[in-house]
């Protein structure tokens, strides 16, 4: 799978595409209270300090905190899918769609390790540019990782 997403549109404001074409999730970390958030903040949501927020790239390893299996959604949206909440190992939590996992409560154990991956969404925006988004997939064993 290609990892160069130059020319793609980010599907959400927290998604950024680096100069090397590799997407990442932009986040903020507060050096005062230690909280990490996706996206940007004018001040820390937790401790309200203005001078202790630094821009960070959120990590791509995490654990499944929680989920629901969506069986009915808006017209045209393919169901079922797993709407997941993932706690990132390096801080911050994200909501997103868990792919490559069976939508069955018996097969979605709490704290299941997941990877954050970036893929073409199959949707295009103005001028036909494709949207790239992040997704969650069950974590691959470390030696099998060939790409980000």
């Amino acid at each position: 799978m290609a990892s160069d997403f130059s020319g793609f549109l980010p599907a959400a404001p927290v998604i950024r595409i680096g100069d090397d074409g590799r997407p990442f999730i932009a986040g903020s970390r507060c050096s005062n209270c230690g909280n990490t958030f996706p996206g940007e903040r004018m001040a820390c949501s937790a401790c309200c300090r203005r001078d202790t927020i630094e821009a960070v790239r959120l990590g791509t390893k995490g654990k499944l905190y929680n989920y629901t299996i969506v069986h009915r959604s808006y017209p045209g949206v393919k169901v079922p899918f797993v709407a997941a909440i993932v706690d990132l190992d390096e801080g911050g939590s994200l909501r997103g769609t868990l792919l490559e996992a069976e939508p069955d409560p018996a097969k979605l154990p709490p704290d299941m390790p997941v990877d954050v991956v970036f893929r073409d969404t199959g949707q295009t925006g103005p001028e036909g540019k494709p949207f790239v988004s992040y997704f969650f997939v069950p974590a691959q064993p470390a030696q099998a990782q060939g790409e980000a």
Binding site: A12, S45, N66, Y74, Q123
Partner: protein, 385 residues
């Protein structure tokens, strides 16, 4: 210490579908019902507070006065998601409590579409739904239920029993949209919307309105209305408190706990003093978590509370005797005042077949919010005057 504030008139339209009525007409109907309940007229009202969410830019309060009398009083229109009606009532309470007015009207009203709230599309054409998780309200509240499952092992069946209970309660409420028993097997076998909430565990999108007349103690005495008056012992509101996962999962727990704790403190009562509750059961999973959030059971005990029937009619602390949002229906802006209406009925001894004997103190709770936006919670404690 300022004087107490009272409800002297309160009523609601039956909740249902009114495709041939305007939102203003529905709100006006509820306003007139509440005025009649108090024996007052719109000319007695010094201000109007109108809760409405989906037409927040339409000056619904002014439109209501266009229907029932344009007296030129101040009108404040409030939009605060599913807490819009509770917010409107609280604004009226504040104005009277602060001594600005002696008699004000609060109206909550909504006309709803059918099916899922919201839509999938975005300004730039991208459809987030299914790609970046889900933005549907059932998904949001199902995740909250699954969090409870993760922590305490709460089961699909226990969540489903809440729908069985509230639908049973609704058979005693002629103003509920749906008044039908739903056996456990039927609830669990109905269409899965977002696990673990099936269709019968989701509130119904309906139209409706509710209204209340809020009065100062001086005015209640002057008008001789203390006999059926309801004392507002507490009125509290909170917004999104910081939670570490707030960008991923909308918090309805801490926001409710903060409002409830403040309300108990203001009222000088504890959860053990409350005899009945109308809480925000927009989904069966929501009712489950709010037992603990409102302090009527210990952490992790909500499932057991459902199993033992403690929150059912005749139980230790009946919850949602009106049938709740699950069967009464959930016209967003009206819900906050409709909940006050149900508690007031019991405190007045006018709740008919579902009456809680010797009810003295009741609590109402509404909480609204959306993923990525924030939350609003309003809690009131009411007492028989």
């Amino acid at each position: 210490m300022s004087e107490d504030v009272y409800i002297v008139g309160i009523d609601m339209t039956p909740f249902g579908r009114y495709p041939n009525r305007t939102t203003a007409q529905l709100g006006a109907e509820a306003a007139l019902l509440a005025l009649d309940d108090a024996g007052l007229t719109i000319q007695d009202m010094q201000a109007l507070y109108c809760g409405n969410q989906l037409q927040a830019f339409m000056m619904i309060g002014q439109q209501i006065l266009h229907e029932i009398g344009e007296t030129g009083i101040p009108v404040v229109n409030t939009a605060n998601a599913c807490a819009s009606g509770g917010t409107a009532f609280r604004e009226g309470y504040f104005a009277v409590k602060g001594g600005m007015y002696d008699l004000v009207l609060a109206v909550g009203v909504e006309q709803m579409g059918r099916g899922l709230l919201g839509a999938a599309g975005r300004g730039d054409g991208f459809i987030e739904e299914g790609v970046i998780g889900s933005m549907t309200t059932p998904a949001m509240f199902s995740q909250i239920g699954m969090e409870h499952h993760r922590k305490y092992g709460t089961t699909f069946e226990q969540f489903a029993k809440i729908a069985v209970k509230n639908h049973h309660h609704s058979t005693f409420n002629p103003k509920a949209m749906s008044r039908r028993e739903t056996p456990l097997e039927e609830v669990m076998a109905s269409e899965m919307i977002s696990y673990p909430n099936t269709k019968l565990m989701c509130s119904i999108n309906v139209d409706g309105a509710a209204a209340a007349i809020i009065a100062s103690e001086k005015k209640v005495k002057e008008l001789g209305l203390m006999g059926r008056a309801i004392r507002v012992r507490a009125s509290q509101m909170t917004s999104t408190p910081f939670t570490p996962r707030q960008d991923a999962i909308t918090d309805f727990n801490l926001t409710t706990r903060n409002a409830a704790n403040a309300a108990y403190e203001q009222a000088g009562v504890g959860p053990q003093d409350v005899q009945l509750i109308e809480l925000h059961d927009c989904f069966a999973t929501a009712e489950m978590v709010h037992y603990e959030n409102l302090g009527i059971c210990g952490e992790g005990e909500a499932g057991m509370m459902v199993d033992t029937g403690a929150t059912a009619m005749g139980g230790r602390i009946p919850v949602n005797l009106s049938g709740g949002l699950l069967s009464k229906g959930h016209p967003l802006g009206a819900t906050g005042i409709a909940n006050l209406y149900e508690i007031s009925l019991h405190l007045r001894g006018e709740a008919g077949a579902r009456q809680v004997e010797n009810a003295k103190i009741g609590l109402t709770h509404v909480v609204g919010g959306m993923t990525g936006l924030g939350t609003a919670c309003v809690v009131h404690v009411l007492e028989k005057a």
